[in-house]
Amino acid sequence: MLNLLLASATAGHEVAHEAAEHGLLDGVVTFTIDICIVMIAVGMLMCVIRLLKSPHLADRALASDTLGVELIGMVILLGMRFMTSAFIDGVLILSLLSFAGTVAMAQYIARPHLRHKQVKSNEKLEDLA
């Protein structure tokens, strides 16, 4: 895995050097991508702080969902930085997994109350019968 990452990074740098001869603004684009990576990292740090200290379980679920989406942004930016479009394929899977986790956490939080309501309505039906 590490070898694959290193190989893609070095290949990306070679491609970047080739492209630097063509484009005028490539340095500016690379600089902007670096700044964006730093800001995404700061945002992920904020999400982790909110994940660690929060008053309710729904806060933690929301923070973990936002952390997953910030991770997607980080993957996109790293793919742009390494000049490889292979990371784009993983983004869809990451967003699907993040959505599934959010739905599972919401069901986990809400399930006792839903069961309570269902039992109540069943009792009401039995009373009516």
Binding site: V15, H22, G23, L24, L25, D26, V28, V29, T32, I33, I35, C36, M39, I40, V42, G43, M44, M46, C47, I49, R50, P55, H56, L57, A58, D59, A61, L62, A63, D65, T66, V69, E70, I72, G73, I76, L77, G79, M80, M83, S85, I88, D89, V91, L92, S95, L96, F99, T102, V103, M105, A106, Q107, I109, A110, H113, L114
Partner: protein, 119 residues
């Protein structure tokens, strides 16, 4: 010339997307309440991912051996999925927090479930 225009587009979409991603995380940290945080995080994250994906599509389409159809299909799928999944997940989470009596902000002025507005 076309390269310069595409690079400027990439930079513009990157700044657009990163602004919304950063504001979403900042609001998640600073706002006082589950519902306020949800309001900040969901909308900001949807627009931020859209901007970053469009920037990535333009950036990758400039390469020599780019598979443009593959890239654009992935980007459109991800943006459509974000626009569908984020409201649904946020709605489910808000309903769960409401059912579980999550703590609310002290400055809240009305709870329309328990004190419905009279007509």
């Amino acid at each position: 010339m076309l390269n310069i225009i595409l690079d400027i587009l990439v930079i513009a979409f990157l700044i657009f997307g990163i602004f919304f991603m950063f504001v979403a995380a900042f609001g998640l940290l600073r706002l006082p309440d589950v519902y306020h945080r949800m309001h900040a995080a969901t909308k900001g994250v949807t627009l931020g991912i859209s901007g970053l994906m469009i920037a990535a599509a333009i950036h990758h389409a400039q390469a020599h051996d780019a598979n443009v159809v593959n890239i654009i299909a992935n980007v459109v799928l991800v943006i459509m999925f974000q626009f569908i999944a984020n409201p649904v997940g946020s709605h489910l989470l808000a309903k769960a927090a409401k059912l579980d009596n999550a703590p609310v902000w002290e400055g809240q002025i009305a709870d329309e479930e328990h004190n419905p507005v009279s007509e």
